[in-house]
Point group: C2
Chain length 500, copies 2
Amino acid sequence: MDLQEALNRMKTYQLKMSAYNYVSGIIGWDAATFAPKASASYRSKMVGSLAEDHLTYQLDPQNIAMLEFLSEKDEVDPKIKRAAKIYLNDIDKVRNLPKNLYAEHVETVSMANRVWEEAKKTDNYALFEPYLKKIIDFSKKALEYRNASSKPYDTLLNDFEEGMDSKSYDAFFDTLKKELVPFIKKVHQDGAPIDDSLLYREFPIEKQKEMVSYLISYLKFDLDRGGVAESVHPFTNPLSSGDSRITVRYLKNYFPASLFACVHESGHALANQQMDPSLEGTGLQDTPSLGIGESQSRFYENYIGRSLPFWETNYPRFQELFPAQTKDLPVEEFHRIINRSKPTLIRMEADELTYPMHIIVRYEMEKMMVEQDVDTKKLPQIWNDKYEEYLGIRPQTDREGILQDVHWADEFGFGYFPTYAIGTAYGAQFLHAMKKDFSVEDAVRAGETEKVHNWLKTHINFFGKFYTPKEILINATGEPFDPRYFIDYLKEKYTKIYFA
Amino acid sequence: MDLQEALNRMKTYQLKMSAYNYVSGIIGWDAATFAPKASASYRSKMVGSLAEDHLTYQLDPQNIAMLEFLSEKDEVDPKIKRAAKIYLNDIDKVRNLPKNLYAEHVETVSMANRVWEEAKKTDNYALFEPYLKKIIDFSKKALEYRNASSKPYDTLLNDFEEGMDSKSYDAFFDTLKKELVPFIKKVHQDGAPIDDSLLYREFPIEKQKEMVSYLISYLKFDLDRGGVAESVHPFTNPLSSGDSRITVRYLKNYFPASLFACVHESGHALANQQMDPSLEGTGLQDTPSLGIGESQSRFYENYIGRSLPFWETNYPRFQELFPAQTKDLPVEEFHRIINRSKPTLIRMEADELTYPMHIIVRYEMEKMMVEQDVDTKKLPQIWNDKYEEYLGIRPQTDREGILQDVHWADEFGFGYFPTYAIGTAYGAQFLHAMKKDFSVEDAVRAGETEKVHNWLKTHINFFGKFYTPKEILINATGEPFDPRYFIDYLKEKYTKIYFA
């Protein structure tokens, strides 16, 4: 293959892969936000046909040869080379998989999703158990077909977070456990109590919507290049450099759901809006990894959105919208309430401090499922034991336990969870580095969010997928990942809140 | 090719063509309803790539051979045979067209669309004129590449309305002109005057939305299998048997815009909901022609939605929502107001009676453009002369004249307009036939819209594209198309309104 020929083929490849992504992005967005109930079965047929075309195109030997050629050739533009490598990584996941095995798995997963929903609704783990077993078995078998040199779970961890393996995650989580488990206990036992009943009072949804619009504009999330809709599970859909969408969910009796989903998802969308537009359509216009992606959303949600300076400037608007609920409530107390920590069974409702514990439970269980021969019938008990150990509470039902998350009923679900925790910890390290350049608190208080955007843009997001997570940590903070910043942040924040 | 092989290939073909349609439907929907401003350029690149794949697939010689084989073979299931014929008709439009000519045209049209917008905004026909000239030239050239045996404009007319040609349209429009031009004059000169200032009063949009929801439920448009959104130009998007969507537009100072768009588009959506679900994904799940499609939307909009019985039952809700505006206004008077006829320059604002005149102007001009050598610079004047002749008013600007519609800046735009008029006239013939089976007025007054749905379903919509428009007319009404029903309907209705 000659270089020019390969580059021409690459151009077409990038365009077509972008189109496949765009199409599945739009269809997914539509399904989650607008599509009526009865649209599901036809849509899944159409999506199936498109996925087959996509796969056929990916597995075309001439395309693979071109990608291999470009990923190895020295004189190739580094962006093209990096894109070729990333495309090849994706191909590796399915390349040697027998087609019928994969098709069977897709079908299993599609069923498993529905069964999981039913099982959760009726608190019946026995319904879901055979599907979970099948999914575990498939994941193991699929790993055997890959040319991976690493241990099975390591391969999956690396899929979601390039450069990570169980050794590094073990070290990270051991540190967290050692430092946080006793600290959490101390906070919950000895901290000054916080009356959090405000969180469960009624806040009219129409007014919450106004608060969300207000926050969007405070954050300078550009709506000419994005949008906000509603869905059951909030998510971000970055379709192009001019099109970053988020969804939020409104709960009448739990206003934090909409407010913090708005800030969290805006963080994802802003990261996308900060990317170099010339990466559009190249395969590099994406976050480098799930962890780096989460570092951005959590940065906005936690380090900005749950900070006192943020509310010093935004609480007046909140009070205007909800005068009855916030009467005589000073901003400092409001800040304590929205940051109150307590052991909870549900990850999605966890506070910043206890959140990592929820991830540790899942990480340890996944490792077991992928690397050992576990009896899937016993998983709920193992889950419950771990909650008792790390958070001091025990689920009384499986819907509040092992059935709460959809991830393990998903197509490639194992290895995803740990990125939530490491991403949050990356964020703390970015915050520490940013503070050396300017006062983040002052900027947030003054509504100068563009200062934050600009730092994140120039240090992280502009480059899209060009750098690996490890490279980004070094580029942005001058040192490799260190969980110390995260632990220090949590201890300082929660000491102020509970022991001031 | 053996039959089984052809049938297998057809199955794949139907699935893939359905997926292409689905994708372009979803993307189009999204673009019109949600997508942010800055999303356009990337989207058009993605759509371009998909369109190219689509075209390549259509022009694959093996696919064409299969379609030709199946469309000619006697023992093939008639539904497969009909689908094959329809697919071939679509292919014929582009089959022999040199690729570069077509690509050039697509580019011209994409520019022409934007230029038309600008030209309309600034009332500058000279801007648009060179594009219109190019589009006319392309249409003529494209027709030369087709194996059409008919005259150029006849081929285009038949594309949009199978079985129609200029001879039959001439006869139809001549009858309309002969009967309606003097009648319209009489109504406008001698009819009892109607004060229509109500139409331009302020009706709060939030309340209009409630009225739209109410009408949706009155019409029994099933929202588990559809949805309603907003867009600048109302349209219907029939994605599958479980997914028929409409949009409406809200104007604070012209409430008929949202109300009648709702009923009109619901008519399209209901037709889709009435189709045999087993046609889904076969190429036959669509209206048989634009005219038959329009016969359904106009049926609901005009024959039901602008009838007195409709308002006898729905006006009380309207009064509840708009007490100040409707105080002391009896339903009979309201009915007169929403049906008031006056000569207008803008087709989209025309009443039922003058509407066909707008179409006749366009039909006569298209015929000229496609079949003669017209000087495009002179078209505005020809347009204005015709308005003066048929409606007694003359546009003072081109934005109120020849620049008002986008159709002639579209990819295949000539031949579309006449279907609006013939569709409305089909509708009158269906109404006449339906009345023989039950009292439509009573059903509408009683809110028994399912009776209407059921008639339209069993006589027309259930069969999707299986029958031609001519066959449907015979099946549903027992006779070929006859404009008499339309003329009688208009004369009777407007005599009551203006000369009672």
